[in-house]
């Protein structure tokens, strides 16, 4: 089970359709401050079903939709698609699984698996199946590495239980 590709459009600062091939074992993302690196991390969390605006640094879920920039209008929808290669052929024998998530400024939310609209629950089942259940993908956000040390012993335990 491996990650192949990520496509983002209208998601945070990625106004235009932008594609990332994640075929290698170690992919690096670099660039100056504020250029969008952590937004790529947010895109992955979001398409995998993250429901917490705060976890994406926003206060409302629609904060992920491209809000406009100098000489550029805001957009009406954010869309991210992540593609996995699943050699187990769990999905009608298909070896690639596409999971897409969309959100409009009117708060209309939709999920798609291999092009067919599904519910969030179905996305979660797919992820559980492929070993990527909640917490099954590991994301260490910027500035958060110290949290496991500065947390009190009980909060630390909560982190353990989530991971295990």
């Amino acid at each position: 089970m491996r990650l192949k590709r990520l496509v983002a459009r209208g998601f945070k600062s990625f106004a235009d359709k932008t594609e990332f091939e994640f075929d290698s074992r170690l992919t690096g993302i670099i660039g100056p401050n504020g250029c969008g690196k952590s937004n790529v991390v947010d895109a992955i969390k979001w398409v995998l079903g993250d429901q917490r605006a705060k976890s994406l640094r926003g206060s409302s879920m629609t904060d992920v939709i491209f809000k406009g920039a100098e000489g550029r209008e805001a957009m009406g929808m954010a869309e991210v698609t992540i593609t996995f290669e699943d050699l187990g052929g769990r999905f009608d024998g298909a070896t690639e699984i596409d999971i897409s998530r969309r959100l409009t400024v009117d708060k209309e939310s939709s999920y798609l698996v291999n092009g067919s609209e599904v519910r969030l629950k179905d996305v979660r089942d797919v992820l559980l199946d492929t070993g990527l259940g909640t917490g099954g993908y590991s994301v260490m956000e910027q500035g958060r590495i110290d949290a496991v040390l500065s947390a009190n012993p009980e909060a630390r335990r909560a982190i353990f239980e989530e991971a295990a």
Binding site: A15, T27, P32, G36, L132, A164
Partner: protein
Amino acid sequence: SKTLFEDTFHEARKNFQDIFRKLFQGGKADMFLSNTDDDMLEAGIEIVAQPPGKQLQSINLLSGGERTMTAVAILFALFKVRPSPFCILDEVDAALDETNVERFLRVLRDFIADTQFCIVTHHKRTMAECQVLYGITMQRRGVSSRIAVALHEVDTIQDGGVPGTS
């Protein structure tokens, strides 16, 4: 359930001891459950860490870089108990000096066999370790775009430029 947590904890603990020693090239560390007399379900997790040559002290007295290395050891220790297919690290190497970045990458290599990693970084040494590098730029202010980057072009990218256009 109590037993699942206990098993997980014991395995994570052993991993933590090993990985800490690898990251620090010595020293020792441990984690243990506090408050176990009342109820294991209420127990908190305590951490002790002793870099090589130093005294055992509270983790609060560790330096910024030592704390990052200790936290990375915990993260990898937990991860090893139940590895997931991929893992994303956003600037975890921020507080590390060159020597510690090197040690961090050496330990990271052991995990790459079973897990795909994606790492956001400002460290050249970490970039050099990556098989593929993506540069993110904002050629038009406020709009991000992505370009493939070769290792010798990283300075241009980091200064916000685009290779081949300077």
